[in-house]
């Protein structure tokens, strides 16, 4: 490289550095860690879109300070990398808030960091109950497996179903779901006739279906992480004739998340799930949310639970900034949102002061075709559901 060229480059670097330096004044930065590439890239995309919709509706400034979101890509569950990215955001980018997190281990990994730096961390998804116990600076705007499963198990018991087989993926959230279902359902007088834990990497589900058939269950409770396995599972359920025999399919709403519905096709029709959000939720706020999304991004087909998780997360962060007057004080910010209530596109929300997790309405939905595509139609609502899994102690 010639001397002149190097000089010119150095000059450019300084100019850019100075330029961004001046822009920092009055800017509050929020670091968002989520998968933006790789198999879970849709999640990061929905997070980002949810935040952008919120900013389009509510402006980009709070009390004179501009709120800037900085996105960091973490393509799979990788706690060490999560911590490194968080550290980079805190030390180099000087963020005042951390947010995002799709996987539980990634969210857990930053606990010591947010405590040391006194930074609030708003979790948009990671759904294992135990996370918020690990630091007083965690606030979560998504859901937990317990929160979705307890009202579902009560509903199933009320339908006169007495024998259920559970089939869950063999990892943290799956086992949470299995435990929550079993505990609630058996307390209601039902019986879990078989508990199948399926390897995460399963591709062929026919043997599990045979087991379910042999167990004589009237219904199944199933949980698998959204994605290819769910598709193969739902297909196997209908292809092996279980569906035709009248066995009912219940599960938390992850399995029928909106972006996967076109691929699931008819196999998904008739699945009954409980969840905190459906794209077709009947409220003006939700219609405005979906319409704004469509206006900004051209399509609203992928609006799903992670979209509202981020949307409401952005709302919580705005309120925290408001309460602290733009100064960075993690505990004060978290303290300010404890007990906060507001109306979201998914319905009424409240941050529970103890668990710092949202207490919300859980909806019972059936997946059915309407106007040529599948949707999750809400058929009942269970208001004020807390995180039943908080401090269950595992």
């Amino acid at each position: 490289m010639s001397g002149t060229l190097r000089g010119a480059l150095m000059g450019a670097v300084f100019t850019i550095a100075l330029g961004t330096g001046t822009a920092w004044a009055g800017t509050i930065k929020v670091g968002v860690i989520a998968p933006f590439s790789g198999p879970f890239a849709t999640v990061g995309k929905t997070f980002k879109e949810g935040i952008e919709v919120y900013q389009a509706q509510h402006g980009k400034t709070v009390g004179g300070d501009t709120v800037e979101f900085i996105f960091k890509d973490l393509d799979q569950a990788n706690p060490a990398q999560s911590k490194a990215l968080a550290q980079e955001l805190v030390v180099k980018e000087k963020v005042g808030y951390l947010a995002g997190f799709f996987f539980t281990p990634d969210a857990l990994a930053v606990a010591p960091l947010i405590d040391e730096a006194n930074i609030p961390c708003v979790i948009f998804n990671a759904a294992t109950s135990a996370i918020t116990e690990k630091s007083p600076r965690y606030v979560r705007t998504s859901f937990t497996l317990w929160q979705n499963t307890v009202p579902l198990a009560q509903y199933v018991a009320k339908q006169g179903v007495t024998k259920v087989a559970t089939a869950v993926s063999d990892y943290g959230p799956g086992i949470d779901g299995e435990t929550a279902f079993k505990k609630t359902f058996e307390a209601e007088g039902g019986r879990v006739v078989d508990s199948i834990r399926m390897p995460l990497k399963s591709t062929d589900f026919a043997p599990f279906m045979q087991r379910i058939k042999d167990s004589g269950a009237q219904a199944i409770y199933a949980f698998l992480p959204a994605g290819p396995t769910t598709l193969a599972f739902a297909k196997a359920f209908s292809d092996t004739g279980l569906k035709a025999q009248g066995v009912k399919f219940y599960g938390p709403g992850d399995i029928t998340q909106e972006p996967d519905l076109p691929a699931l096709g008819d196999a998904a029709a008739g699945i009954i799930s409980t969840f905190n959000y459906s794209q077709v939720h009947d409220s003006d706020l939700n219609r405005a949310f979906v319409a704004k999304h469509k206006e900004l991004f051209g399509s609203s087909d992928t609006v799903t639970f992670t979209s509202v998780g981020a949307y409401d997360g952005a709302h919580v962060i705005y309120k925290m900034i408001e309460a602290t007057g733009g100064k960075s004080d993690g505990l004060k910010a978290v303290e300010a949102v404890k007990g906060m209530t507001w109306e979201s596109p998914r319905g009424p929300l409240k941050i529970d002061p103890d668990s710092r997790h949202v207490t919300q309405t859980i909806y019972l939905r059936v997946t059915e075709p309407k106007d040529g595509k599948l949707q999750n139609t809400e058929i009942a609502a269970f208001p004020n559901q807390p995180d039943y899994g908080f401090k269950v102690g595992k």
């Binding site: 590439s37 790789g38 198999p39 879970f40 890239a41 849709t42 063999d170 199948i196 834990r197 399926m198 390897p199 990497k201 399963s202 591709t203 062929d204 026919a206 043997p207 599990f208 045979q210 087991r211 042999d214 994605g227 290819p228 598709l231 193969a232 297909k235 292809d239 092996t240 004739g241 035709a244 972006p259 996967d260 076109p262 691929a263 699931l264 096709g265 992928t302």
Partner: protein, 289 residues
């Protein structure tokens, strides 16, 4: 008894799907001596073509399958000429791995960019949905169809490699390329045709197997271990070996999942280790069709 029958039927059905996806890899690895890690990527690309043809353009399933196989073969032939030709032969193993894994990454990123990371499906015709009754046990019609296609593929490949002059010349070229060339066999063309055969089989497997291994951009990386396992157990280049390996692994995996689901993939990999311990080169080493 019913359990045993159930395991056998489900195991054979799963095994046949494994076979149909892996046999193309066995052809390229055994006959061309190329470790083609991009095999899964070719299968995936074909699946996406079929999905696009069937869903967006509304072609019937059969036509979409044929179109996907043909398009994949046509699209990969320039790759053979530009890239693969330089890495033939067992002396180039490291280069083969580097090139084909790189190619896989490129295809994964390309598919991700063009079609997005969500799942895609290939809608089945009315005829192939529903279940087929086999006495005490019923299996999905689509699986029965795949089993039939698998059996037809075994026979067709056996006939092609053992009973035609193409097969004779190919085997000659594989055993001793220099001598075959000296005898006037145009080895370059032969290799090109075999490469096309390999990718064509990959494409067919990708489309037919899409019900079990759903299409998404990471398909190419997610399932390649599965394909390699089948080829390793069967013996590279052996059609019957691949079939035997796929069926064995399919039945073992199904039995394990049915009887002790908590053990997960344990039985699949335990079988893999034991078989390779006893037959380090696979069931049918290299030679027979």
């Amino acid at each position: 008894m019913e359990t045993v029958f159930g395991i056998a039927v489900d195991g054979v059905a799963y095994g046949m799907i494994l076979f149909i996806i892996s046999v193309g890899l066995s052809v390229t690895l055994g006959l061309m001596r190329v470790v083609n890690l991009a095999h899964g990527a070719f299968a995936m690309a074909a699946g996406y073509v079929a999905s696009y043809a069937a869903q967006t353009m509304g072609l019937p399933y059969g036509l979409a399958l044929v179109a996907a196989v043909l398009l994949t073969v046509v699209a990969t032939l320039p790759l053979e000429k530009l890239l693969y030709r330089r890495i033939y032969g067992s002396a180039n193993e490291l280069r083969q791995v580097l090139l084909t894994i790189g190619l896989t990454f490129v295809i994964v990123a390309g598919i991700n960019y063009l079609f997005g990371p969500t799942l895609k499906r290939i809608p089945l015709p009315e005829m192939l949905t529903g279940t087929l009754d086999l006495g005490p046990k019923s299996i999905p019609t689509h699986r029965a169809f795949v089993i039939g296609m698998g059996a037809a593929t075994i026979l067709a490949l056996w006939w092609l490699l053992e009973r035609t002059s193409f097969g004779i010349r190919l085997r000659a070229a594989v055993d001793d390329p220099a001598m075959a060339a000296a005898l006037g066999i145009r080895t370059e063309r032969l290799y090109m045709a075999t490469f096309a055969l390999g990718t064509g089989l990959a494409a067919m497997g990708g489309v037919l197997g899409a019900e079990l291994l759903p299409l998404e951009p990471y398909y190419a990386i997610r399932y390649i271990v599965l394909f390699l396992a089948v080829v390793a157990v069967g013996g590279a280049g052996s059609i019957f070996g691949s079939a035997a390996a796929a069926l064995t692994l399919g039945v073992v995996d199904t039995a394990g999942k049915y009887l002790i689901p908590n053990f997960g993939e344990f039985f699949f990999y335990a079988a893999l280790i034991l078989i390779l311990f006893r037959w380090p080169h696979g069931f049918f080493q290299g030679r027979a069709a």
